[in-house]
Point group: C4
Chain length 249, copies 4
């Protein structure tokens, strides 16, 4: 498989995993940067992630215009999230926008921040900004539906890995498809653990900055531990046959 075929293959797997792990339902999407052209990204046409196949993938530029000018298929309205984050963050190779239910309370009740409390949540990073579209754009339908709104969100994200979007969902960014999927699945789990810890009362033990850093240093997309969950989730989602692990690494 060449590099483009491989990221498209992994993008299909990722769509199915995200649906099966309840990160997305009919809504929510994942994009990956073109491996040969950093000014382009791939994302599915507008369809529920569980139904995505190779043929649904479309190539866009960073202003989220389709590369094929005659492209007639429907696009995700909020693809601008992906374009804007990739434009602002050359280190980012893959992005997710979703509305995983257990993350939503943290975007509308800001008294309790969403921060890592479990080791598998460390990849969230020490700081999760909360972006509210209302601040820059007033009353909208809450969707990130143009380049300006995308850039506002990307600015709020800054150099972090996840931004909550008030009343709406979250945007996550990482250096590979595998990592952004892992981050998004554990984001919801980490959120639930905070919620339940709050109900138990007393002080909460958060991961320290040092713990977060040690963990980040130890993992790559094809490290044995990262691959283990990718393989497992793909199997559960019924796409084990698409799994492909490159030799190099």
């Amino acid at each position: 498989m060449n590099a483009v075929d491989q990221v498209i293959n992994d993008l299909v797997i990722a769509n199915r995993i995200l649906a099966n792990e309840d990160v997305v339902d009919a809504y929510g999407h994942i994009a990956v940067r073109h491996p040969k052209n950093p000014k382009r990204y791939f994302i599915s046409r507008s369809v529920a992630p569980e139904l995505v196949t190779r043929d649904d993938i479309i190539e866009f530029d960073l202003e989220s215009k389709p590369v094929r000018s005659k492209e007639k298929r429907q696009f995700y309205l909020e693809r601008f999230i992906h374009g804007a984050i990739m434009e602002a963050r050359p280190d980012v190779m893959a992005t997710i926008h979703a509305h995983a239910e257990d993350t939503l309370p943290f975007g509308i009740a800001k008294a309790t921040p969403l921060r890592p409390v479990i080791h598998s949540g460390s990849f969230i990073g020490a700081h999760v900004p909360v972006w509210d579209i209302r601040e820059d754009f007033g009353d909208t339908n809450l969707l990130v539906a143009n380049v300006e709104q995308g850039r506002s969100l990307a600015k709020a994200l800054g150099s972090d890995n996840v931004a909550l979007m008030s009343g709406h969902g979250f945007a996550a960014a990482a250096r590979s498809i595998i990592e952004v999927v892992r981050l998004s699945v554990y984001l919801a789990r980490n959120a639930r653990v905070i919620l339940h810890a709050k109900q138990l009362g007393g002080e909460i033990r958060y991961l320290s900055q040092g713990e977060i850093e040690v963990r980040s240093r130890g993992y790559g997309p094809y490290s044995n531990e990262t691959w283990r969950t990718w393989e497992y989730w793909a199997t559960k989602a019924g796409v084990a046959k698409l799994l492909y692990k490159p030799e190099t690494e």
Copy 2:
């Protein structure tokens, strides 16, 4: 397909989706107005929604009497909810009555109102009245079992989209089957998000009146974004083969 065939087809899909998405169990039902005769509606005979097929659909007038006078099948006891709302609200084409578990706490603990907090919950509308059958009718079995009780509920609903029914469930109304199904699924999700946000503490960010209005203007039953979830839910519920999208729109 003619207009009647199509609404009956979609009514079957809707029943299966509502069961699969846990809006209904053995109880709860959905009705659709006759597309050619606004004084009639269709609803299944008394059977669990997951088991509904075309042959189960019966036609009623707005007093919830069957059109075929010799109809022998069992009717839903609470079909009066649908007749009364359609009688009072010419704009409404489809109605649901259900007991989705996560909506129930809001009907019995009135300190926290059920209002939209997530963008997908906007269709609930800014105000959700709470109707308590006990106020007009004293001690009953809580069921809406005649025209008068139906009209009392319809009056409480007024021009809103959803009314909670204390100790019982909710009634939802919309201008199409697809929209009333979407509203009902996200009603439960919106309820859970409020519940969890309350547990996190602090002030809750509700959708503004303006945000609700902008969202309402942007969606029709066959808009690409609405169809996406209908297609997804139908596929998950095993009735993808029944999907039918009219050309017009």
Copy 3:
């Protein structure tokens, strides 16, 4: 089918429904009184309810001794619950003992009583006693493992429909298999709704005594509404083919 065959058939269906609806796991059981001999009852040998078939059913007397003196199969240790309740309550035809998870908090945190708050929970009855084996028997393994312990529980149950068993589970009693299954499934749901309503804050609306009584009067085991859920649950549990509705009623 004769009367005995029919209750055994329904007992098998009930076991499968209780497993599928998460009322029981490997533990928990349901018994039915012998339709011709009120001093006998039927219950499965010791096996997980999901695995129960006709051949597993054993006949006991009300002291929970097997009728066949040479019976070699393993018995449920806690069958005494069923014998003692049927001994004390001639009106009761079927009993369940289970540990449905969402009922357990109410047995160990007695500040909030478990009472009906939703119409489908009305069959719990207005009062649910809490029995603690520790009070009469000191430190035990918490199991109701002999006639005396069974009678202590039956005494606490009195004329009510359900008794919570502290740190352990509940016992439910009704006039038919269908009704005791329905009661047990909705007991857990009613418990969850109270729990969540408490988290929303403010006063909770409980069903009134009058509402509970009106509901009780309106339902029999083969009423259309009761049958609807029995049929639905049996279908979901994969035993639709065993369904049998007697002509009479």
Copy 4:
């Protein structure tokens, strides 16, 4: 089957049960001591437990070095947990390390201890220590990745059955595979019941020391009641065909 074949067979069943019961996901593992050589233990290569087969099982010494010096397969990074506990506790035959979600809040919000409140949770034991890797080792990736860290955890466990690991998970120890699996499944359930009881308010009834002791005396791995749940869980996990109950006992 000889003794080694049997523990490996049961280890495979256990892996599948733990995955199916949500004790583990892609992470978490179970080990069993070699039945003939107490200085050795068996555990799978690094793979998601749901995918484990006989061929994945590897033999280690108590310092968690593979017995076959040329072993090339990937090992679980945290196998040291198992080696260190078996080294310190000759009575322990099987150990689990996992991150079952509902146990995690108790490791980070220490105001509410995790203690048995339900009879099926009695095997947790009266005291559950909380071990925080940060105390002995400062900022780490939270994994128990060497012999020293394993021994620190084993020391915290002492003579108890379960230790919580702050921000990470738990380690459980028992005298057989069947018992450590049962303990781990009910640990999460017991945790949820405490959490919900706290939300109901008022004082919580914990199991007394005497109740815990009476229960412990009554159960062995092949007692009828313990086997019942093993058989049930194995059936649900799709490995009923592997079930093997030794004649002796």
